[in-house]
């Protein structure tokens, strides 16, 4: 993992001092509400429905045990004993006191953390693949690049007041687990024919009110030009992005209005002069950075450990968990474990202080002290020896974190919605809970196979509903909570946006509606065909017909 040097530490310490001063000026009445708002947002501090909320950055979703323990400590001392992991791999504390925020930031600074880049119209926290550095299909580890981009962007002075927020994702795998096509900039690892290392660059993707799949801006960007090129994109956006209407202010609208070609030309013109300039990354820097993340010391582990084999054979619950929650590691004898934060009835992504501490212990014992946060709101232990899986499973089970549902219907991705968020049109947590309760039979879930269900409480799409195989969007109908359903969204190489199936439903009807959609799938699927592929093959009509009745479907 990356470790702060003196410069990094000084920066977060200075930031705490600066924010403390700003808070004092605000509380003393010397800073107006309007002047203070952007400053508190630059430090992750929102005012929500019931209380202030502090969103803490977890750069590229990587935590050490020590950091996770600190988050638990903060949850206990400054909040109500829990935290919420978000779809952008951050953590939110929902019940903080405004005047205590600088104190919390000071606590975070002691473990090399902060809340910069979690809000406001700046370059937001960089995200990546939760399996980075461990995945079997990895082309190269994206984290050294994430860290370079993090350092460049944390206080990038030129880009603190962009037209709107700006999200960057960097992925290193052959399979895209970072949703690079749904970010303002997405970078995907590539190795050129000549062996050169670089990235494929997408621009203008995103969800929210106007969802779009990112467009390919560059086939191959050599890695040393990463910052120059990003800077060129950001500068064009900063100058020409719309500022008259916040709903049209994201870069995707600029790309659309200019057209990809014109946009690309502007970027090339900017890049032309900065190329090879002072922001070019030196080879030595890559080496320094890679050294932080390289793990060459895997003790040899027997992939055929007899006790493990035996448990797989005779312990059905364990075997199921291995089937769903354990992924292949690039090193033989090792595995990647996902701890499910999707137990029925617990708001998706929530973890208590006790759970966080328990996970920190497990990571220390079994996973080289490392934890990852996935954008599906689960926690990942990236380096577990297969022979330790049984012990880990027992530990996770005791913490309520071993639900074997990763990638299944009940692994619901869900924003905080109307229970917390002041922008919500509907509550999302109760809908997620109703779905989990209704479909809690494991045999049924396993038979259904991979199925991603995402729910957002409003068009801002924090729950990524557009890219759920089934997407649910909360809408307000005369003060009542309704839900719109989309089908066929997906992430990854074949990234696509879900399509609305028709008029919305009262929130209580959703479990039934989903039940009917699943019936159609079960009846129509080919052997081994997953839900979203069936949707792609047979189209929406059969689903509409089952949900709305034949006649109705004909009109939609």
């Amino acid at each position: 993992m990356y470790l702060y040097n003196a410069t990094d530490q000084r920066l977060v310490d200075d930031r705490v001092i600066q924010f403390r001063g700003q808070m004092e000026r605000f509380l003393a009445g010397c800073l107006s509400e309007d002047d203070f708002r952007p400053l508190r947002l630059q430090n992750g501090l929102y005012i929500q429905r019931h209380a202030p909320m502090l969103r803490v950055a977890i750069p590229y979703g990587t935590l050490s045990s020590r950091q996770l323990r600190k988050l638990a400590d903060i949850a206990r001392r400054y909040d109500r004993g829990y935290g919420h992991f978000t779809t952008r791999s951050n953590i939110q504390f929902n019940w903080v006191r405004l005047e205590e925020a600088p104190e919390i930031l000071a606590e975070l600074a002691t473990v090399q953390m902060h809340a910069i880049q979690t809000s406001g119209n700046c370059i937001r926290n960089i995200t990546t693949d939760q399996f980075a550095g461990a995945a079997a299909d990895e082309i190269f580890d994206p984290r050294p690049y994430c860290e370079l981009v993090r350092q460049w962007s944390t206080l990038a002075p030129e880009f603190l007041f962009l037209p709107r927020k700006f999200k960057i994702a960097i992925a290193g795998g052959r399979e895209d687990r970072a949703a690079v096509r749904f970010h303002d900039i997405g970078a995907s690892a590539r190795v050129g024919e000549d062996g050169r290392i670089g990235f494929e660059i997408f621009v203008g993707g995103g969800l929210g009110r106007t969802p779009m799949v990112g467009k390919l801006l560059k086939d191959f960007l050599p890695r040393e030009e990463l910052l120059n090129f990003f800077e060129a994109i950001l500068r064009v956006y900063n100058r020409y992005g719309r500022r008259d209407n916040k709903y049209k202010a994201r870069i995707k609208i600029l790309v659309k209005e200019l057209g990809l070609e014109t946009f690309a030309k502007e970027v090339e013109d900017e890049w032309e002069w900065s190329r090879g300039g002072p922001n070019t990354i030196e080879a030595a820097t890559f080496n320094d950075m890679e050294a932080f993340f390289a793990r060459l010391d895997y003790p040899p582990a027997d992939p055929h450990d007899p006790a493990y084999r035996q448990a797989l054979q005779y312990n059905r619950a364990f075997a199921r968990w291995v089937e769903r929650n354990v992924a292949r590691h690039r090193v033989e004898g090792y595995a990647i474990v996902t701890l499910s934060l999707k137990k029925t009835g617990i708001p998706p992504g929530d973890a208590t202080a006790e759970q966080m501490e328990g996970i920190a212990d497990l990571a220390e014992r079994f996973s080289a002290d490392e934890i990852r946060v996935s954008h599906e709101q689960n926690l990942v232990l990236p380096h577990v020896a297969r022979k330790d899986l049984l012990a880990l499973w027992q530990g996770a089970r005791a913490l309520g974190l071993a639900t074997p549902n990763i990638g299944l219907l009940t692994d619901v991705v869900c924003c905080p919605g109307g229970d917390f968020c002041s922008l919500a049109n509907a509550r999302s947590i109760p809908v997620a809970a109703a779905i989990q309760q209704r479909f809690d039979d494991l045999d049924y879930l396993f038979d259904l196979g991979p199925l991603e269900l995402n729910m957002s409480g409003c068009v801002n799409a924090c729950g990524h509903h557009h890219i759920g195989h089934i997407g649910i969007l909360g809408v307000d109908k005369n003060g009542e909570e309704w839900c719109q359903v989309t089908l066929g969204g997906r992430e990854g190489q074949r990234g696509a946006l879900g399509r609305v199936i028709g008029p919305s439903f009262a929130a209580e009807e959703i479990p039934d509606v989903i039940g009917r959609l699943l019936e159609v799938y079960l009846a129509a699927r080919h052997e081994g065909e997953v839900f979203v592929d069936t949707v792609e093959r047979i189209g929406l009509d059969p689903f509409k017909a089952r949900v709305y009745g034949e006649e109705h479907a004909a009109h939609h």
């Binding site: 410069t7 119209n121 350092q151 460049w152 002075p157 500068r235 900063n238 100058r239 002069w273 300039g277």
Partner: protein
């Protein structure tokens, strides 16, 4: 005389800000006042003989390309921030300084507050005319808000 922050110190400001709708008579222009003209007017008055006393101010979307041939002679370019959350001026400053090597005074004007000074300075501004309700004395500390400066090529200095 109004006061600004320049090169990290409080300074008197001799420049008179000319608004876009002001009518400038030939006498005004011929006088010995230091005039800070909006870009369109500055373009009209390029033959004003006293260049040393003629500066230009830019709105965030002004086509500043028109200035490029004159950069070496311009004593002052001011960039206006209609609201401090409008960040276009930061990129203009960066372009003027880095891409076009402008070396004269670069001043931030308008909704300029203490909390932005550090970052504005970092993008190349060396003078700051704060919003009227802000006391420049109290803002001087802002230059030391961070010990950090971006270091070229390494994102930021590693292991410093």
């Amino acid at each position: 005389m109004p006061r600004i922050i320049k090169d990290g110190r409080i300074a008197d400001d001799p420049w008179r800000w000319v608004t876009t709708d002001e009518v400038m008579t030939p006498e005004c222009l011929a006088g010995d006042e230091h005039l800070l003209l909006p870009l369109p007017l500055w373009q009209d008055q390029q033959d004003r003989h006293d260049r040393a006393r003629t500066g230009v101010w830019l709105a965030p979307d002004d086509p500043f390309i028109a200035l490029l041939p004159w950069l070496a002679e311009l004593p002052l370019i001011a960039i206006h921030f209609p609201v401090f959350t409008d960040g276009r001026g930061y990129s203009l400053a960066r372009l003027l300084r880095s891409r076009y090597a402008y070396a004269g005074e670069l001043r931030a004007v308008g909704d300029v507050l203490r909390d932005q000074i550090y970052f504005l300075h970092n993008c190349g501004f060396d003078a700051f005319c704060l919003r009227a309700d802000q006391a420049p004395e109290e803002a001087l500390g802002a230059f030391g808000d961070y010990a950090w400066t971006p270091v070229a090529g390494r994102g930021r200095a590693l292991g410093v």
